[in-house]
Symmetry: C2
Subunit: 320 residues, 2 copies
């Protein structure tokens, strides 16, 4: 196995391979973050779905289990995003990932914290430039194929990453559609210096998601997910009866208020944490068709690297 893959991102994050486990609602508690940190990639506790108390206790549990650095993810649409950030900084977290919002809001506070790295997730070049201007150290470009909440411009990872890499001077990581070494290598070919991986890590033993959710991801094919709820907040999940009801309401020209009624509340909790595969929001990316099992997170990392090496070798042989 390749001893390390070295880029500006692996150097900044002090990790062996430039792989970041994405923060995901209900799926990325302290166990997953610790497992990934111990596998020498970036582990992340996702604060989405956690109240402030739980968030603090998750950080403390992780700290008790690993001496390695790990990150937290803070979605900027949270009303208490600033408080979550203060908790993370007070607990000594050195890598802050922000997403789903304006980087200028919490950026200045992160920049004032000495030695703290700031990663921001964007869906387009315009947002990437904003993040860089606000002082982000690393920009993650997340494509249309990614699971969970998504941008309105629907730019795919393959199209987004080279355009972001051309536009920015800070290093770019690729997110969306990546679940094996082929996607990892493709991301690097596109100009990324690392990858951020959600769905593949949501479907590991250490993920806090429900076994039914993991089963649904492992059984899904390439066409299983859909981006919907576009007039509320676009989100990609596995099709099920609840998703179809929301989509029918959308297609019939329902108002935002009517849609919010059909969309309801707590469906991501119901689906991902509680395992209701019919009525829950099973957030997952289009890469779920590449996922067939529920291994340990360290095994996922091992596969990423071994496949990366094997596929690089395969490509080389195209030149006689």
């Amino acid at each position: 196995m390749i001893e390390r893959i070295r880029t500006r991102i692996s150097d900044l994050l002090q990790i062996r391979y430039p792989i970041m486990q994405a923060g995901m609602i209900w799926a990325s508690g302290y166990k997953l973050a610790v497992a990934c940190a111990e596998a020498e990639i970036l582990g992340t506790i996702g604060s989405a779905g956690m109240n402030q108390e739980l968030f603090r206790s998750q950080i403390r549990k992780a700290k008790a289990l690993t001496k390695r650095r790990f990150a937290v993810n803070i979605p900027l649409l949270r009303a208490d995003a600033a408080e979550l950030l203060e908790i993370a900084l007070a607990e000594g977290i050195e890598v802050i990932i922000t997403s789903a919002g304006n980087p200028a809001v919490l950026g200045p506070r992160v920049r004032k914290a000495p030695g703290v790295l700031w990663i921001h997730v964007v869906p387009s070049v315009k947002h990437g430039l904003k993040a860089q201007d606000a002082g982000a150290d690393i920009v993650v470009g997340e494509g249309f194929e990614a699971g969970g909440h998504n941008g309105v411009d629907e730019i795919t990872t393959l199209a987004l990453i080279p355009q972001l890499a051309d536009a920015l001077s800070v290093p770019v990581a690729a997110a969306g559609g990546i679940a094996d070494g082929r996607g990892f290598l493709a991301a690097m070919a596109l100009g990324a210096e690392g990858i951020s991986v959600g769905t593949r890590f949501a479907c590991t033993q250490e993920s806090s998601s429900h076994p039914n959710y993991k089963q649904a991801v492992a059984a899904a094919n390439d066409a299983a997910t859909v981006l919907f709820a576009k007039r509320i907040a676009p989100v990609r999940a596995i099709r099920n009866p609840w998703v179809e009801r929301v989509r029918q309401a959308e297609a019939s020209g329902a108002t935002r208020e009517e849609l919010e009624k059909v969309y309801g509340h707590s469906h991501s909790r119901k689906g991902i944490l509680e395992g209701d595969v019919e009525e829950g929001e099973l957030e997952a990316g289009q890469s779920c068709g590449l996922i067939r099992d529920v291994p340990k997170a360290a095994e996922v990392v091992r596969r990423f690297v071994e496949e990366y090496e094997r596929d690089l070798d395969r490509i080389r042989r195209f030149q006689p």
Copy 2:
């Protein structure tokens, strides 16, 4: 420059590099097909937009200008697809590309023609398996980011290609989002053995598209296009006043009949051939943000190969 890139696809098509110029409505007449064939990739005359007489004369003009093999593309939604195929076979065309339809319809006729290669374009694994079962020699997986007409499942190139490559035994080419050597290399990393490129070739000197169209593509950014007209036939084009009117009708829950009225007729001709950038359908992929000029087709091929080589070298240096 790399002397050749050799895969099953380059071997089957007897070309130096496994690059296929896609057939595109109003943009890929005989001049572009000849220029690409002479550059030792697969050139293609796109029959979409041509009546049978024009199609035959375009093939003859190309044959008079090059001794190299070139392909024709036949969209299977054409009512006279069978007649177009007979014309192509009678004129001695040896590579038939079919798209936008059921491969079982014309497949048996193509298979009966001795020595003729058959390539079929698909948007999902399910359709890829159908094409392979029908006897296709090469399957092109076309992602959501591609310009022009597109599948309903909205699977992106990055997510689709490895899943197609796993499912099929025939070689797979990648289409959608590829406009430079980074995309070419990424496609090969994903498991493709070649690429099919539309928008980048639509924006060359030899393309029959209008200079205003080429200008619009070269000026467009990553977020410039949108997939719309989903209840008629999903198509990706550059946003303009006409596109916004169709999208507003869609969002208001219009019936298919009402939508067809707003969508109207001949907008692709108006946009791509006649250069009306406000009211025309400017079909283009999300890769248009990577396109900044209108070079010769041979120059596009040269860049693809040089960048492929340079980017492969860049990736290698990530391993110390």
